[in-house]
Symmetry: C2
Subunit: 396 residues, 2 copies
C-alpha cells in the first residue's frame, strides 16, 4: 500500500499529450490556451479620447484662454480629423481618435457651450488629461495572454480584440466512465429490494464536465468475460478509462485481474487513505486507467484528488492549490490520510472548513451537504481548530 503522495507522483509521471485543436473563440471558455495571444497593434491603437467633451491645445489654456471656438466634431469610429486653428477646440466623444493638433480633453461637465463657443470652467487643467495614450496599455507584439492559461470570460474580450476568431486550445482527452456492480439498475428503473440505482458514473461525468470533458459512460456486469471483451474495446477507443467499483477484495472484483490480463500495467493498487483506499491505477501505451472503488464518496474524492491533477498536468494548466483553516478539533486515529468532508465559510477573508457528519464512504447524500474535502495527513492523529490544511473544493 502506497501513500497518497506516492500515488499522485506516479500518476503525474504518466500524463499524456492530447494535442492541439483550433476552436471558435467563443467556445474556448474552460479550455486551455495553446498559443500566446499577441497584440496585433498597440493597445489602445490610437490616442483615444477617454471622456466626452472638447479637445484643446493645452498651451492656449496655459496662456489664460478659457473660451474656445468649436471647429468641428470627432465621433468615435470616424477617421482622425485635423484641427486647423490651434486656438480652437474640437468636440470629441469617448472612444474617438484624438484630433490632430489637440493634446488635452476637457469633460462636458467642466465646460459651458454657448453659440459654438466652449467656455472652460476650471482653474487648472492637466496637459494630456482624459486621453488614453496610444500603446500605454500594451505595445504591438506584446504577449497579452501567455499559452497554457485556462480561458475565462476575462480572456475572451482580449482574444476578440486582437481578431482571433478561432483559437488554439488543448484537445480534450477521450474518456469513458464505466460502472460495474450487479446491484445497479438504471436511473429510470425501480430497484428491487436488494438493488440500487447507478449514480457514481453520472457523478464522475459531471465532475469531468466541470473540466469541459464530455465523457461517455457504460455499465458492465460483474462477469469476467464481459469485462474483458468490453475493456479491450475501450482501450482502443479512449485516452483514459475511469472505473467505479470491482477493485476490492470481493469474489467478483475481477477488474484488476482483467486489466492486467489485457496488458494494462499496474502502477499501484491500494492507497493509504480514507475513503478511497482500494484505488487501482495502471497504464498502457501512455493511456491511463483509473479504477476507483465503488463507494460514492470514495469515487468522488479519488476523481478530484487524482484525475483532476492528471488532466491539469496533461494539458499544461496549474489548478489552484487551496488551503483552509480547520473550524473544529478533529481526531483521526487511523494510519491513513483522511479526506474529511467539510462545509466552507469565508469569514473576514479566512476560509474556514467545518466537518460535516457523514456516515462514511457509502453515504452519497453527505456529498450534497459538503463543499469540499480537507486533507488530513496520516502522520498526525490530532488536528486542531485554527490549523491550516490542504482543501479540495468541489463547489463554489
Amino acid at each position: 500500500m502506497i501513500s497518497v503522495e506516492e500515488a499522485l507522483k506516479i500518476i503525474l509521471e504518466n500524463t499524456q499529450d492530447f494535442g492541439v485543436e483550433e476552436v471558435p473563440f467563443l467556445e474556448s471558455v474552460g479550455r486551455v490556451l495553446k498559443e500566446d495571444i499577441v497584440a496585433d497593434r498597440d493597445f489602445p491603437p490610437f490616442n483615444r479620447v477617454a471622456m466626452d467633451g472638447i479637445a484643446v491645445n493645452h498651451r492656449y489654456f496655459e496662456h489664460g484662454v478659457c473660451d474656445f471656438k468649436i471647429e468641428g466634431i470627432q465621433p468615435a469610429g470616424s477617421p482622425q480629423e485635423t484641427m486647423e486653428n490651434a486656438a480652437n477646440c474640437y468636440e470629441v466623444m469617448t472612444g474617438a481618435v484624438l484630433p490632430e493638433n489637440t493634446d488635452t480633453v476637457i469633460r462636458y461637465e467642466d465646460i459651458t457651450i454657448n453659440s459654438l463657443i466652449a467656455t472652460v470652467n476650471l482653474d487648472e487643467v492637466v496637459k494630456g488629461k482624459n486621453i488614453h495614450v496610444k500603446g500605454s496599455d500594451r505595445l504591438q507584439g506584446d504577449i497579452l495572454i501567455p499559452k497554457d492559461k485556462l480561458i475565462s470570460p476575462a480572456e475572451i474580450g482580449v482574444i476578440a480584440s486582437v481578431g482571433k476568431s478561432t483559437v488554439k486550445v488543448a484537445k480534450m482527452p477521450k474518456v469513458i466512465v464505466v460502472s460495474t456492480g450487479d446491484e445497479l439498475v438504471e436511473v429510470n428503473e425501480t430497484p428491487e429490494a436488494h438493488q440500487i440505482r447507478r449514480s457514481n458514473a453520472f457523478t464522475i461525468v459531471s465532475l469531468l464536465e466541470k473540466l469541459d470533458i464530455k465523457a461517455e459512460t457504460s455499465h458492465i456486469t460483474d462477469d469476467k468475460e464481459q469485462l474483458k471483451e468490453k475493456i479491450a474495446e475501450y482501450l482502443k477507443d479512449y485516452d483514459a478509462l475511469l472505473f467505479s467499483g470491482a477493485v476490492s477484495k470481493g469474489k467478483f472484483d475481477f477488474l484488476p485481474e482483467v486489466l492486467e490480463e489485457l496488458g494494462v500495467e499496474k502502477q499501484f493498487h491500494r492507497v493509504s487513505q480514507r475513503p478511497g483506499k482500494p484505488f487501482w491505477y495502471g497504464q498502457q501505451n501512455g493511456k491511463s486507467v483509473f479504477a476507483f472503488p465503488g463507494n460514492p464518496v470514495s469515487t468522488y474524492v479519488n476523481c478530484l484528488v487524482y484525475f483532476y491533477p492528471w488532466y491539469a498536468k496533461s494539458t499544461g494548466i496549474r489548478l489552484p492549490k487551496e488551503t483552509a483553516i480547520l473550524g473544529e478539533d478533529v481526531s483521526f486515529k487511523s494510519d491513513l490520510t483522511y479526506f474529511m468532508q467539510v462545509k466552507l465559510d469565508v469569514k473576514f477573508g479566512h476560509l474556514v472548513a467545518t466537518p460535516i457528519k457523514g456516515n462514511g464512504s457509502g453515504d452519497l447524500v453527505s456529498l450534497a451537504d459538503a463543499d469540499g474535502f480537507i486533507q488530513l495527513s496520516k502522520e498526525q492523529k490530532e488536528f486542531k481548530k485554527g490549523e491550516t490544511y490542504p482543501f479540495i473544493r468541489y463547489r463554489n
Copy 2:
C-alpha cells in the same frame, strides 16, 4: 447619482420569475433546483455489507467460536439469502444485502479460509461491524436536497439515486447582449486606424455562460432610428437586455433617450463608482434593461456587480459573498466606490488580494491579469494592508 448600494437595492426590487422547466438530470449541473429531492426509500435501502468478507452471528463469536462453516455466498445485486444454521457464516460482498440470520461482517483481511471453514483471526469483534445499517444515512421521505440549490456534480449522484431521470429547474431568462459604437468592427475584420474590434459583447456572453445562460448578441450603430427600431423588437422577445456603450454624455449616446421614448422606465442613471459610473438601469413590464458603459472594465464590473445578483435573486439561489484581505496599502481619494482589480492568492487559508496595475476602465488586457475585484467603500480614502473587504471573484 446614487450609491452602489442603492443601485443594487433597486435592481433587486426588479427581479423576475422565469418559471420552471424539467430537464434531463445530467444536464442540470449549473441550474437552480426547483423541487425538493426526496428519498424514495431508506438510505441505504437495506442492511448493506460495507466490506468484503464473511457475515456471522455475533453471539457465537462471543461464546468463543472462531471457526465458521461457509454456508453460502451473498453477492451484491442478489436477493437476500437466509443462513439456515446460525452457527455458520456467509461469504458477503461489498454492496450486498446482509443475509438473514447474520449481524456482523468480518473482513477477508481478518480471516483465513481453509476447505470451507473460515477462521477469525481477531480477539475482539464489535457486533454490527462493517454493516451500513438500513436508513442510517436518511429515511424514506427525508428531503435530501432542498429546492433552490445550485446543482453541482455532488447533487447529480443523489438525484440519480432517487430515480429522478428528469428534474425541475428554474427556466433561464432570454437575454440579448447589444453592443453599440460606430468605432467597432467584427472580430474577423481588420480595423482601420480609428476603429477597434467588438469585444465587450463577447465578454458579457461568456460571463452569462458561467451562469448557464445562453445569450444572443447584436450590434447597433450609433443611429437613433436604428436603435429605436431594434430595441422595440428586443423588448418584445427577451426577458433582459444588456447594453454596452452609448450611455455617457457623448453627442451620439442616444441610448437613455431612446429607451425612455420606448417606455422603459428609468430607475437610475449614473452610480457613484469607478469604473462603471454612467450605468443606466430601467424596466418595462417586469423586464430589465441594463445599459452598461462601453469601457471594457466598466462593462465587466457592472455585469458581475449588478446582473449576477439580479439573476441569483430571480432564480432563488444565494451566490456566495466573499471577502478578501488587502495585500497592500491602497489610497483612493475620489468620492466613489472603487472596484479595484486584484490578483488572489490563498495563503494558509487566507484570501489575499493584491492590486494589479491596470490603466483604468479602458484597459481590457488588465482583466486577463486579475482574478477579481475588491470593493472599496466611498466613505473611506485610505485602505490598509490586512484589512478585509468584499471580493468579487471572476476566476477560480
